[in-house]
C-alpha cells in the first residue's frame, strides 16, 4: 500500500518535471524571435553581419531608433491613431444600437436579421476588395485615411453585434420593467439603462476590435498609396524599401510598431488577454 503510494508520487513528480521542461522549451520558442528582434535593433549595420545574430549588442545604441523616429514614423502613427479612434467609436455605438432591439425586443424579423448579421462573420474580405477599391475612387476617398473608416467599421460589425447581443441578453429583465413603470420609453431606456450596463461588454469589444484595426493590413495597403496617408502596419513596408540591406534598422521599426501593444500588455495584461480572446465565443 505504502509502496504504490510512493511509486505514484514518484511517477507524478517525474511527469511534472517533463511537463515543466516542455513548457520552458515552449517559452523559448515563443520569445526567441522577439528577443532576436529587440536585440538586433540596437546593433550597427555591420555589427550584426560580423558578430552574428546571437551576440549581444556592443552597447545600448539608440541611433537606429532616432533615425526611424526622425523619418515620418510619427505620421504613420498618427494616421493609425485617428483611424482607430474614429472607427472604434462609430463601431461600438452602432453595434450597441443594433444589439439593443436584437437582444430585448420581440419583432417579426428579429431572428432573420440576427442570423444574416452573424453569418457575415465567415465572409472573406477579399470578395469585397475590388468594389470597395472602386467605390473609394468614385467617392474621391482613395488614398486618404478616411477611406479606411467605412471598411474598418463594417468588417467588425458582425462579431461586435454577436458579442454585444449575447451580453445584453444577460441583463436582467426586472431592471427594464422597473424603469418602464417609472415611465421610461424604449429610446431613453437604451441610453440610461442598457448602454451603461453594457459597459464591460463594450470595453472587451473595444480591445478586441482595437487590436484588429491597429494591425489591419489589406485595406490599408489597397486603399492608400502615398506615404503621408498610410497606417502603422504599412510603415514597415516603406522602411523596408528604404533600408532593405540594413536589417537592424528594420528590427527597430518592427520593435517600434509593437511597442504600443507591449505597453498596453504591461499595464492591462488581464484585460488585453480577455479582450483578445473575445473572438473566442465565435462559432
Amino acid at each position: 500500500m505504502e509502496g504504490t503510494y510512493r511509486k505514484n508520487r514518484m511517477k507524478s513528480r517525474i511527469s511534472w518535471v517533463i511537463a515543466t521542461i516542455l513548457a520552458v522549451i515552449a517559452v523559448i520558442i515563443s520569445i526567441a524571435p522577439f528577443i532576436f528582434m529587440v536585440m538586433n535593433s540596437f546593433k550597427g549595420k555591420f555589427e550584426m553581419l560580423t558578430k552574428g545574430v546571437f551576440a549581444l549588442p556592443e552597447k545600448l545604441d539608440f541611433t537606429n531608433y532616432k533615425e526611424v523616429l526622425e523619418g515620418n514614423f510619427f505620421s504613420y502613427f498618427l494616421n493609425s491613431v485617428i483611424v482607430l479612434v474614429v472607427s472604434l467609436l462609430i463601431l461600438l455605438l452602432i453595434s450597441a444600437f443594433a444589439s439593443y432591439p436584437l437582444s430585448r425586443f420581440k419583432f417579426k424579423l428579429n431572428g432573420f436579421v440576427y442570423a444574416v448579421i452573424v453569418a457575415c462573420m465567415s465572409i472573406p474580405v477579399h470578395i469585397t476588395l475590388i468594389p470597395i477599391f472602386k467605390m473609394s475612387q468614385t467617392l474621391h476617398l482613395y488614398d486618404s485615411i478616411w477611406a479606411l473608416i467605412g471598411p474598418y467599421v463594417a468588417m467588425n460589425i458582425p462579431i461586435s453585434v454577436f458579442i454585444l447581443t449575447s451580453f445584453m441578453q444577460q441583463i436582467p429583465k426586472e431592471i427594464e420593467e422597473a424603469a418602464t413603470i417609472d415611465g421610461c420609453g424604449k429610446v431613453r431606456m437604451f441610453f440610461s439603462v442598457i448602454l451603461p450596463m453594457a459597459k464591460p461588454g463594450l470595453s472587451t469589444l473595444a480591445i478586441y476590435n482595437g487590436v484588429n484595426m491597429w494591425n489591419e493590413f489589406i485595406f490599408g495597403y489597397t486603399l492608400t498609396q502615398s506615404r503621408g496617408n498610410r497606417t502603422l502596419p504599412l510603415a514597415v513596408w516603406e522602411f523596408q524599401g528604404q533600408y532593405s540591406m540594413n536589417t537592424p534598422m528594420i528590427m527597430s521599426v518592427l520593435t517600434l510598431t509593437v511597442l504600443p501593444m507591449i505597453i498596453l500588455f504591461i499595464f492591462a495584461q488581464d484585460k488585453l488577454i480577455k479582450g483578445m480572446a473575445a473572438g473566442a465565443v465565435k462559432g
Binding site: S12, L22, A23, A26, V27, I29, S30, I31, A32, P33, F34, M37, M48, V53, F54, S95, F97, A98, Y100, P101, L102, F105, K106, F107, N110, I117, C120, S122, I123, P124, H126, I127, T128, L129, I130, I132, F133, K134, G150, A154, V161, F190, N215, F217, I218, P233, V236, Q240, T247, I250, M251, T257, V258, F265, M276, A277, G279, A280, K282, G283
Partner: protein, 301 residues
C-alpha cells in the same frame, strides 16, 4: 374591452417595430454598402474582361469562370489552403490544449508561463511576416545560425519550394497557438471547480481527470476552436503575402494571395473577381458542411 386591448397591443408592437428599425438602420446600411453590395458587384464584374481602369469593360459571360475551373494555379492555391487548414488545426489546437492544461494544473505559479506564451499575439501579422523573413533568412537567420553552430551549412527554408509552405505553417502556428491557449484556459473556467473536486474524491488522478472528465467537457470549446481555425486558414493572407508573396513558384500561393496579385498587381480585375467569387463559394460551402456535421451531433452535459 377585448378589442381595445388588442388595438393597444397592436399599437405597442408598431411602436416596437419602429424603434427596432431606427436602432438597426446604421448597421444594416453599412453592411449593405460594404458587404452585400460588394459581393454582388464582385460576381457581376466576374463576367467582364476588365483592367480596373477602362470605362467600357468587355462582357465575356462565364468565360472567367470556365477559366477558373481549369486554372491549375487556383487549385494549387486551394490545396495549399487546405494543407494550412489541416496542419493548423492539428498543431495549434492540441498545443493550445496542452499549454492550457499545464496552466490549469500548475495553478497560480504558472502565470508567468501564460504571460510569456502570449507574447506572439502582441505582434501584427505583417510585423511577424517581416520578422520571420529575417529570422529565417539564409544568411544570418536564427535557423541558419543554429545549423552553423552545429557544424551544418546555411538553411534556406523559405527559398526552397519543398519546405517553404511548411515554414510558413510553422510561423502561423507560432502566431496563433497562444490564442488557442487562452481560448482553452477560458474553456477550463467553465469546467467547474466542483467537478474537479468530485473526481478527486472519487479517486481519479490528474491524468484520469484530464482524459475522462476535462477533455470531454472541453469538447464544445475545441469544436468552436476548430471552426475558427478552419475559416481563418481558408482566408489567410497578410503573413504569407509579406513573407513569400506566394512563392517560390506557387509553392506558398493561397487563394487570397492569388486573387490579390491578379487584381492589384496585374490589374486583371475581371478574372480577379472570379477568383474572389470562387474563394467565397468554397469557403461558404466548407464552413456550412463542417458546421452541419459538428452541430448535427449535439451533446448535452
Amino acid at each position: 374591452m377585448k378589442k381595445g386591448e388588442s388595438l393597444l397591443a397592436q399599437k405597442r408592437q408598431k411602436d416596437t417595430n419602429r424603434v427596432a428599425a431606427i436602432f438597426l438602420a446604421p448597421v444594416v446600411i453599412l453592411l449593405v454598402i460594404y458587404i452585400f453590395y460588394p459581393i454582388l458587384e464582385t460576381f457581376r464584374v466576374s463576367g467582364f474582361d476588365w483592367n480596373g481602369i477602362s470605362s467600357n469593360p468587355k462582357f465575356i459571360g462565364l468565360d472567367n469562370w470556365a477559366k477558373l475551373f481549369q486554372d491549375e494555379k487556383f487549385w494549387t492555391a486551394f490545396l495549399n489552403n487546405i494543407k494550412v487548414m489541416i496542419l493548423s488545426i492539428l498543431i495549434q489546437i492540441p498545443l493550445g490544449i496542452a499549454m492550457a492544461t499545464f496552466v490549469e494544473f500548475a495553478g497560480k505559479k504558472s502565470t508567468i508561463f501564460k504571460i510569456l506564451w502570449f507574447i506572439p499575439m502582441l505582434m501584427s501579422s505583417v510585423a511577424i511576416g517581416f520578422l520571420f523573413t529575417y529570422a529565417l533568412a539564409t544568411n544570418g537567420g536564427i535557423i541558419s545560425s543554429i545549423s552553423q553552430l552545429l557544424g551544418g551549412g546555411n538553411v534556406d527554408l523559405l527559398g526552397n519550394p519543398k519546405t517553404a509552405l511548411y515554414a510558413v505553417i510553422g510561423v502561423i502556428a507560432w502566431q496563433f497557438t497562444p490564442f488557442y491557449m487562452v481560448y482553452c484556459v477560458a474553456g477550463y473556467t467553465n469546467v467547474s471547480e466542483e467537478v474537479y473536486e468530485a473526481s478527486v474524491i472519487d479517486g481519479a488522478n490528474k491524468r484520469q481527470y484530464f482524459w475522462h472528465i476535462a477533455l470531454p467537457l472541453l469538447k464544445p470549446t475545441i469544436k468552436s476552436a476548430a471552426i475558427l481555425s478552419m475559416v481563418g486558414s481558408l482566408k489567410y493572407f497578410d503573413l504569407v503575402y509579406v513573407m513569400t508573396g506566394g512563392g517560390p513558384g506557387s509553392s506558398t500561393e493561397l487563394m487570397a494571395t492569388y486573387m490579390y496579385k491578379l487584381s492589384f498587381a496585374q490589374f486583371n480585375m475581371g478574372y480577379g473577381s472570379a477568383v474572389a467569387g470562387g474563394m467565397f463559394i468554397l469557403i461558404s460551402l466548407i464552413s456550412l458542411v463542417t458546421m452541419r456535421i459538428l452541430n448535427g451531433k449535439k451533446e448535452d452535459y
